[in-house]
């Protein structure tokens, strides 16, 4: 059986990815597509991210001592606070806090929340394998990768809400069409960014197929391919049908978005395992 601390660490990291990326993405999409009903989603995801960020920090303390005492040990928490995990936590608290504040301020606050989204995503540039390489170009690729993922995740809940509300179908058609146009540029760049990061992390085909890290990465790539298939169906079939006023397309699109959510969660879980529990190939 897996160690309970390992399971808790992976689950918390998953919640952190989901909370930060979805909160940031919802705000990005709200600003780009002038969405109306996004505040509850943004606040909910941001609070999820805040709780997960705090718990993740405390679990790191437990990992340093090997038992629960590390979660409240001033020396361990002080060590973490003074190093990169503390910097990342600071950005997460500030960023997610600004998202909550911005969402509460109404339309005026949307740009406050977008700044918060940027800070929250930027937090991932301070911990992890890429950050440790101290390479500005790789840092830029990582931030683009995360921002693009946030953009993708951020549209899912608002768009599903639009397509399941009969009166909002024309608006849903516009949003899905515009998202598809932007995504046709962003997604290829996202794939290139992901491939670049993977190459620098894994380093060789042998390591890709012969190590637990590489095999988990391959599983993640398979899930991404599945997600691309769903996204292609949305863009090429359901969104154009919705533009033509086909109401059945709305139901298909809602189902497809639900499936996308499931695959996105699986991808985030795979990423959580990769970043918390597996060693990079040496």
């Amino acid at each position: 059986m897996p160690d309970l601390w390992d399971v808790a660490t992976v689950a918390t990291q998953f919640a952190l990815y989901l909370g930060v990326l979805a909160a940031a993405g919802v705000m990005l999409c709200a600003a780009l597509f002038r969405l109306d009903r996004y505040r509850g989603l943004a606040v909910g995801f941001a609070l999820t991210g805040l709780v997960a960020a705090g718990l993740s920090f405390a679990l790191k303390g437990a990992a340093l001592t090997g038992d629960a005492s590390g979660m409240t040990d001033p020396e361990m928490l002080g060590l973490l606070w003074d190093t990169s995990p503390g910097v990342a936590l600071g950005y997460r608290i500030a960023g997610l806090g600004l998202i909550v504040l911005g969402a509460c301020l109404g339309q005026v606050g949307i740009w406050v929340a977008v700044v918060g989204a940027g800070l929250a995503v930027w937090s991932f540039n301070h911990v992890g394998h890429i950050a440790a390489r101290d390479d500005l170009a790789l840092d830029a690729v990582l931030i683009f990768h995360l921002a693009a993922v946030a953009f993708w995740i951020g549209i899912l809940a608002p768009l599903r809400r639009l397509v399941t509300t009969r009166m909002d179908l024309p608006r849903a058609a516009d949003v899905s069409h515009l998202f598809g146009r932007i995504a046709s540029l962003v997604v290829p760049a996202l794939i290139v960014a992901g491939g670049t990061l993977s190459y620098y992390l894994v380093g060789s085909v042998d390591a890709l197929v012969g190590t637990g890290y590489g095999q988990s990465l391959l599983a993640k790539v398979g899930l991404v391919a599945l997600l691309l298939g769903l996204a292609a169906a949305n863009k090429l079939r359901f969104a154009p049908a919705l533009m033509r006023g086909d109401e059945r397309a709305a139901a298909h699109l809602a189902t497809s978005i639900t499936l996308e959510w499931a695959v996105v969660c699986a991808i985030l879980l795979a990423t959580a395992v990769l970043t918390t529990s597996l060693s990079l190939p040496t």
Binding site: M1, P2, D3, D6, V7, V10, K60, A63, L64, T65, G66, M76, L79, L80, T83, S84, P85, A88, H126, V127, G128, H129, A131, A132, G212, S216, A219, L223, A262, V263, C265, A266, L269, A270, V273, T276, S277, L278, S279, L280, T282
Partner: protein
């Protein structure tokens, strides 16, 4: 599908995890057989690490925390005094914070005849 993936992720945790272990060399070496209890153990890592806890376990004794002394900064090499607990198998379990912000852990063992 989600449940299948969760099961796969958990099984991966069960089989392989060994979360991040950049230990390059130790004295005594992992699996070594020594004629006498060494007075210290040394660990050399591939990257900088800040050790936070090192425990020695011996079959006949409760686990003992090794004294880190003033070795509380990021470094690649550490030498820690070891209290002799007689012949038998010693397991040294270490924990620390890597320079990338990841908690690290690992263990090695040796036998004293």
């Amino acid at each position: 599908m989600k449940h299948h993936f969760l099961a796969a992720a958990l099984s991966l945790l069960a089989t392989g995890v060994l979360a991040h272990s950049p230990l390059k060399a130790t004295t005594p070496a992992d699996g070594a057989v020594a004629g006498a209890v060494p007075t210290e153990v040394t660990m050399t890592f591939m990257r900088d690490i800040r050790l936070t806890r090192v425990q020695a376990t011996h079959a006949d004794h409760d686990p003992v925390d090794l004294d880190l002394g003033d070795q509380t900064s990021f470094a690649t090499g550490f030498a820690l005094p070891l209290e002799g607990m007689g012949p038998g198998t010693y397991v040294i379990e270490w924990r620390g914070l890597g320079d990338d912000g990841h908690p690290l852990t690992g263990r090695f063992g040796f036998t004293v005849e």
